[in-house]
């Protein structure tokens, strides 16, 4: 297993620029997720690394070998890169054992032990070896595809939205089994996905991609808690943005005074400036909804509630006409129209005000909103 380094990779198809100088480092044995909306270029990045397409400029290196660079394009079949396609792409005319052994040399193909070992690695019984792809569920097909990719001992494994075509109830279990297998094999892996919960729950680190660029690479917790800009913040989870005035680590906004976490994103001398206009970014689960008789917090009225069972999103109208979303427990859902008080818990993020104006975004339901 080797580390993967991408430097300044660009790619255009005709007049469309798909990748505009991508830098990415994946350490040996690390599972990195590339998270982005569809069309952001993440699959293209994967195909460049796999060698299915040549890069326009920039370099890609695996360990000490430059596999893509100026005047150099190592063909895919000698790169030792494992590839797992979206629908698994198991060869329909071969049974499971011959699919897994496909990339092995003729001599190794005859050995049953390696196939059994790989089946075990992805959490499947040896009895699956003689089945054909059409006899497997979608999740099992994906596990076999991973086993097939791991069989020849690749330097890095690339997974292209491997769970996107699975039913929701299969997705989590398959994701866990696949990442366990990758970790057990000590594989360096790059997982491309548009599903933020998948990226956050499975990967060691997450690279957020937007419009052909990597905008943030961080641990899942940091990507969620310390997004670099409002767009990343909104993409990885529910998000409330409010205009505020920053004064010595405390921002004053429509939800009262909130503590700003070390004023991250404000580098340089202006960072502790008094009375500076900012945007504060608050996660819906940071907003506590209290009874109207409480003295703390600011008054609000419940507009409506989206109930999910385990929890619920309440849309709340503030005194100044702004609407914010709070995530409440499923057992204590406030009634629409009722009066409540809101308190912000914990530190929040503050971002510089873009173009002097302030945007309030109130995504519904905490699902991934779009970038714009």
């Amino acid at each position: 297993m080797s580390d993967l380094r991408v430097r300044g990779a660009t790619k255009r198809f005709g007049a469309t620029r798909v990748l505009e100088g991508v830098d990415l480092d994946v350490a040996a044995g690390e599972l990195m997720a590339v998270l982005g909306a569809s069309g952001c270029g993440k699959t293209t990045l994967l195909r460049l690394i796999a060698g299915f397409e040549p890069t326009d400029s920039g370099t890609i290196a695996l360990g000490r070998d430059v596999i893509s660079g100026p005047g150099r394009h190592v063909p895919a079949r000698v790169r030792r890169v494992g590839y797992v396609a979206q629908e698994g792409a198991l060869f329909p005319h071969l049974d499971v054992s011959r699919n897994i052994a496909f990339g092995l040399t003729r001599r190794l193909r005859r050995e049953r032990a390696r196939v059994t070992e790989l089946l075990e690695l992805v959490g499947l019984d040896a009895s699956y070896a003689t089945r054909y792809p059409h006899e497997l569920s979608g999740g099992q097909q994906q596990r076999i595809a991973v086993a097939r990719a791991l069989a020849p001992g690749p330097s890095v494994v690339l997974l292209d939205e491997p769970f996107a075509s699975l039913d929701a109830n299969l997705r989590q279990g398959t994701g866990r089994a696949v990442t366990d297998a990758l970790r057990a094999a000590g594989a360096t892996a790059l997982l491309v996905t548009h599903d933020q919960s998948e990226a956050l729950s499975l990967a060691d680190r997450v690279a957020v991609m937007h419009d052909g660029r990597i905008v943030q690479v961080d641990s899942p917790q940091h990507v969620y808690r310390r997004p670099v800009d409002p767009a990343v913040a909104a993409f990885v989870g529910g998000s409330v943005l409010l205009p505020a005035l920053l004064d010595d680590g405390v921002a004053t906004c429509a939800l009262g005074d909130v503590r700003v976490a070390e004023a991250e994103g404000f580098h340089g001398p202006g960072s502790i400036e008094r009375g500076r206009p900012v945007q504060v970014h608050i996660r819906p689960e940071q907003i506590d909804v209290l009874d109207a008789r409480e003295r703390d917090g600011v008054a609000a009225q419940v507009v409506d509630v989206s109930y999910f069972g385990h929890d619920a999103d309440a849309r709340l109208l503030l005194g100044d006409g702004q609407v914010v979303v709070a995530r409440v427990e499923g057992s204590v859902v406030p009634a629409p129209g009722s009066h409540v008080r809101l308190v912000v818990r914990g530190a929040v993020r503050a971002f510089p005000v873009a173009n002097g104006g302030v945007a309030t975004r109130v995504p519904r339901g905490g699902a991934a909103p779009s970038w714009r």
């Binding site: 030792r80 396609a85 629908e87 792409a89």
Partner: protein, 491 residues
């Protein structure tokens, strides 16, 4: 390759231009032409209508009602495809001479060609989303109005496409109509050619015939191109409720059984009858074997050549879709939709003028078969290539497998069945092909079809029957294949 398929069309166009409009008109402006035009048009339009009605009604009964044994009927109703139209008319004619003329011709071609409508319509009915009809019922539409306003519009591509295919077959039909003494353009071209050896009159008639074909083809392309009824939204299609026949079960069963008897029972029965009656005369085992071997040999050669020629085109159309591949595909399609008689005439003229050594050779005959039947191979091959998407290439590549090994281990195993099916269909078509073989076969080359033809033309029914029976036996398995494919295409 594509140029080859365009030879017949080019021949007609060049020839007509050469002749000039005035001369062409002089050749065509005869009472005989008017009669041929009237005959051809009447028969084509009438048969398209009867096939559409019969095919749709049968398909509805089999697919959408509680008719007993629908699977058996499905197979039986498609089976007439295994009996060439000229064998069918032989069967009828040897029973009664009263089937000669328009009425008889209409009945016999309808019985021979209605499966071309039945199969795609049945497949379409099978694939319809029952939810749509339930929605129509919920909106207050009765059963009849639901059929007219919801079901029929969805059947349109299959119904029109199938009917136009019937029309194209009829314009090209020679054997059956010649036997029934119902002159159309195709039979007249043959007669002209036989009496005056490729006179300008035959070519002028061919030009009119080609015009008719092109009109039908354009209509078919429009039908195919404009209308795609996709199901909107995800989720599984609801299975279809079947209409209860109740008391009408017996009449429905009876009418379908009569149809099967007329379309299948009569020709096969009379073949059996003549086989038995003819066995009193000496059974020509030697000739029978040699002609069967010739037919099979020609069929195999044509199947191999057609598959080879079709493959690059099919690959291009599936893997590198673009304006160029579309143009190439369409041109083979146009070239191949021309009647066998026009293809044969074109080959004779072209070889006599420019490639004399090729005239009356087996190679030329096989080349004509390639032109006529390349779309059959293409359809199967394209479906097969679609089963092996380029994603598999990527995966194989990433697993360190080189191009040659990939071809052997992935691509070939995946596409082989489809390529084989296409070849089988070409084989079937060649074994039962009559018109082109009659005109182009080298002197002394006798196939099952031509031997059958020469015997039945001299009213030696007993002697003709074994050849027809062999043709049916040889073509039966491939027909089953064609049945499945036609059934799938529309769904």
């Amino acid at each position: 390759m594509v140029l080859l398929t365009l030879i017949p069309l080019g021949f007609v166009v060049v020839y007509s231009l050469d002749l000039g409009v005035g001369e062409l008109w002089r050749l065509l402006d005869r009472p005989r032409t008017a009669e041929l035009l009237s005959n051809t048009t009447r028969l084509t339009v009438a048969a398209m209508l009867t096939c559409a009605t019969l095919g749709t009604a049968a398909a509805w009964l089999v697919e959408r009602t509680t008719l007993p044994a629908p699977r058996v009927f499905n197979a039986l109703l498609a089976a007439p495809l295994a009996v060439p139209a000229f064998v069918n008319s032989f069967g009828w004619l040897s029973l009664t001479p009263r089937v000669e003329g328009f009425g008889g011709a209409l009945v016999i071609v309808t019985l021979s060609y209605y499966p071309l409508v039945y199969l795609p319509v049945a497949a379409m009915l099978r694939g319809l989303d029952g939810g749509l009809e339930e929605t129509a019922h919920a909106l207050g539409l009765g059963r009849a109005r639901t059929f007219a306003r919801v079901v029929l519009p969805q059947l349109r591509p299959a119904l029109l496409g199938g009917s136009l295919l019937v029309g194209l077959h009829l314009l090209a039909e020679f054997g059956a109509l010649q036997m029934l003494r119902f002159p159309t353009f195709t039979t007249a071209i043959y007669d002209q050619y036989q009496s005056t050896f490729n006179g300008p009159a035959a070519s002028a008639l061919a030009a009119v015939l080609v015009l008719g074909c092109l009109l039908l083809l354009l209509a078919e392309l429009r039908v195919r191109g404009d209308h795609r009824y996709a199901r909107v939204g995800g989720g599984a299609a609801r299975p279809l409720p079947r209409t209860r026949l109740g008391a009408t079960t017996i009449p429905a069963l009876a009418s379908l059984s009569i149809l099967v008897v007329l379309a299948l029972g009569v020709p096969l029965g009379s073949l059996v009858h003549w086989l038995i009656a003819g066995s009193s005369t000496a059974f020509p085992l030697g000739t029978l074997t040699s002609t069967a071997l010739t037919s099979i040999g020609l069929g195999l050669a044509a199947a191999a050549a057609t598959s080879l020629c079709a493959f690059p085109l099919a690959w291009l159309c599936e893997r590198h879709r673009g304006p160029l591949s579309t143009v190439l595909e369409r041109s083979t399609y146009f070239g191949s939709a021309l009647p066998g008689i026009v293809v044969a005439l074109a080959f004779i003229t072209v070889t006599i003028r420019y490639a004399r050594p090729l005239y009356q050779t087996t190679a030329m005959l096989v080349a004509a078969y390639v032109i006529l039947f390349i779309p059959r191979a293409m359809i199967s091959q394209r479906a097969a290539i679609a089963q092996a998407p380029s994603m598999f290439d990527d995966v194989a590549h990433s697993l360190g497998v080189g191009a040659l090994s990939r071809l052997r281990r992935v691509t070939l195993p995946l596409i082989a069945p489809g390529v084989g099916a296409g070849a089988a269909l070409v084989f079937l078509a060649v074994v039962t092909e009559l018109t082109t073989t009659l005109l182009l076969a080298p002197i002394g080359t006798k196939t099952l079809a031509t031997e059958f033809w020469s015997n039945s033309s001299s009213i030696a029914y007993g002697a003709a029957a074994p050849y027809a029976a062999l043709m049916v036996v040889i073509s039966a398995p491939a027909t089953l294949l064609l049945t499945r494919q036609l059934g799938r295409r529309a769904s």
